[in-house]
Symmetry: C2
Subunit: 224 residues, 2 copies
DNA sequence: GTTTGCAATAATATATGATATTTTGCTGAT
DNA sequence: ATCAGCAAAATATCATATATTATTGCAAAC
């Protein structure tokens, strides 16, 4: 099998983005080219390309002539992100359910199964695999909307999802059983082609997550 | 007044983006670094930064190890873009109308006035200012949704609008009087805080534009 | 004690050239 | 026509140089 043969640029891009999302690079912190060069073992030119990409996606802020900063967080921003996620994901879900084929159903069931397995572990107190858990969460939501017939919509949703994820990682708390229940209900509704139920559960799911994260941010006011 | 003091990077970025949107750089064409260096009088490093930005916005395609290409066009892509514009702009319009203040109304009336002036010229056969016309069109739509209270939504909409605009510029035809009428009706509905009417006129406006552009693309099959 | 002004320092923006790798184009053989 | 293999072209990456701009530190002034 051919190894992914990643270029320095793309693999470092992944690493930096990941570090922003998972908080290794703190919100608002300055991204000095020289510091990054050491940290990621890449040249300044390559890093500038990466930071420009991340800036246009909104994970980084590029301040003309003053360099780059990790995008700051705020409750207002989180609310905007959550609302956008609802708008994009619900819309995609609707068309996806209406046009999903057997392959789609198969992937969906598989994605839910994997997610469910790790959710059980989380419930049992094993918090050691937060990152993997979130990846499966992402894969499940992605599988749900993957038949929406719009690459553009999927791309936009992917970015928004990652931004939302950053806030969840920031407060580092777990909503637990209710979220698991949401996923199950979404799966069932999707397979039953019950658009209305699926969409309303999804919206509820995101709003509850938003509430939860906002509350956690209120308690930990320092991270802004 | 302080001059904009643009950096080479940002001003060249604007130029390249503009050239993609207005078709000076043809869809699908290869963007050779060396060629661009001559054309825009910027260094390769700077140009790579710019192309990376444009790639992450979707105006350019970055093919690992094979360089950059102007994003190709297709009817499917146009349909996706139009649907996304409807989704984003209608949602933004709804909240904007509900929370617009007097300043918002003022800007809106002003934007419509400017747009209307140039639309009349277009109707009279003066097609010399397509670019200015499209700028005013953008400013009007932007003014409508500017009170939506979401920077994230406005940013996303801006990008989608530009992509939609590229298709319009590509086929280079003018929908004329009906579009002018749409704008007037949207303005009136917005000022009357009639959300339903405004939103449905907007959706109709975009769908008609889509139809029109699709038809023009069908006739000029060569540009793909 | 706070503010102002300015020099010293640091960091960014941009350009250029060098190297390794990859892709592309071409030639000739099958 | 197809394919292998080589030469030319282009990209990806890096290091380095320079000009410009931003930041910092400190002394002088209020």
């Amino acid at each position: 099998m051919p190894s992914p043969t990643n270029t320095v640029g793309s693999s470092t891009y992944e690493r930096v983005k990941r570090d922003v999302i998972f908080g290794a690079l703190a919100p608002g912190s300055k991204l000095k080219l020289d510091g990054l060069r050491e940290r990621y073992n890449a040249s300044v030119s390559t890093l500038r390309e990466i930071l420009n990409r991340l800036a246009s996606e909104g994970f980084v802020v590029a301040a003309e002539q003053r360099g780059f900063f990790v995008k700051p967080v705020s409750k207002d921003d989180l609310v905007e992100i959550a609302n956008l996620r609802i708008l994009l994901e619900c819309s995609a879900l609707e068309t996806s359910i209406m046009s999903g084929d057997p392959d789609w159903e198969g992937n969906l069931v598989a994605a839910h199964h994997k997610l469910h397995l790790i959710e059980q572990k989380m419930l049992d107190g094993d918090q050691s695999q937060k990152e993997l858990w979130k990846r499966y969460d992402w894969e499940f939501h992605q599988a749900m909307i993957s038949a929406c017939n719009s690459q553009n919509l999927l791309a936009l949703h992917g970015t928004i999802f990652d931004k939302y994820l950053r806030y969840q990682m920031l407060v580092l708390t777990y909503r637990g059983a209710p979220a698991i229940e949401d996923h199950r209900r979404m799966l069932d509704a999707a397979l039953a082609r019950d658009v209305d139920t699926a969409v309303s559960v999804l919206e509820h799911h995101i709003r509850k997550g938003l509430e939860h994260t906002l509350k956690a941010m209120g308690d930990t006011e320092d991270l802004i």
